[in-house]
């Protein structure tokens, strides 16, 4: 059976097409496009993705309005059933606002929009997203965000670290995130939110500084989990 992945588009999403392209490039199957106003998701999904962008113009707080949209009720219900969910950038912000992941993304400590390729250290190698990496491995993935400064109280941060739920850390932190956290997992490891954009790093670039294929591995990991399931 083909890999069934959905890409949710909110008004103001702008990486939905990149996500769709990456999913199809890796799985060979077109992703299913879902509009934020839909009440239901397609059935039998292997993966739900929330793409980057500026949903609802970042009104109120980044991701806050999208978290209240009709489709998010279905996404929360699916996540509770164990369907893997990947939120990238604005998608990560939406996942925290929907309380599928702990913490929040604040304005970057340096106040500036940060757009460059960064080094990440892999901190978890057991989730459906990260099992193909080795612990401590360094990968290069682009970031592009204004509100990527991960915040949670010390108790929550200790819990995330203690339970191996810090998926990725920045090598050199671009945004002031607590404990250099770039991506976190849910308690069951099946929801991942990350600020860097793996969907923008799925093929080797002619100019190395412009991209790379390290993000592709994350999609391959998900596909391998699906094949093993």
């Amino acid at each position: 059976m083909a890999f069934r992945a959905a890409v949710i588009t909110f008004p103001g999403s702008n990486c939905d097409r990149d996500m769709t392209t990456a999913l199809e490039a890796v799985s060979g199957t077109p992703a299913l496009r879902v509009w934020h106003g839909d009440a239901d998701l397609p059935d039998r999904l292997d993966l739900i993705t929330l793409p980057g962008g500026f949903s609802y113009g970042d009104y109120l707080r980044s991701g806050a309005m999208a978290a209240t949209s009709p489709i998010m009720r279905a996404v929360v219900a699916a996540a509770e059933r164990g369907v893997p969910v990947l939120g990238v950038c604005n998608g990560f912000q939406v996942l925290t606002e929907a309380r599928l992941l702990p913490g929040a993304l604040l304005r970057n400590a340096g106040q500036r929009f940060v757009c460059r390729t960064v080094e990440l250290t892999v901190g978890n190698t057991t989730s459906p997203f990260t099992h193909g990496f080795t612990a401590g491995q360094t990968i290069r993935i682009p970031v592009a965000h204004h509100d990527g400064n991960y915040y949670a109280d010390a108790e929550t941060l200790d819990m995330l670290e203690g339970e191996g739920r810090v998926a990725f850390r920045y090598g050199e932190c671009p945004n002031g995130s607590a404990r250099d956290i770039a991506g976190v997992l849910s308690a069951n490891g099946r929801v991942l939110g990350m600020m860097p954009h793996p969907e923008r790093a799925i093929e080797p670039a002619a100019v190395p500084s412009l991209g790379g294929a390290d993000g592709r591995r994350l999609f391959e990991n998900m596909l391998a989990s699906f094949a093993a399931a």
């Binding site: 109120l60 707080r61 929040a104």
Partner: protein
Amino acid sequence: MQVRVLVRLKPGVLDPQGRAVHHALEGLGFEGVGDVRVGRMIELDLADGTDEASIRQMCEKLLANTVIENFQIESIG
């Protein structure tokens, strides 16, 4: 009835906007500015008799993110 909701970052949560505003005030020559915190003010026009519990729910579910923000509800008429 009208209600004003003030949303502020919790004490201890870094406020880069406040810091930038502080810096700008100093740049304009204002002295003695200690700390600056930027928040958000939301005015709601509500049906008369809307109870406090409902307004608190509006704050907790949408108007504030209680992971990082506190809110304060004031009646303004």
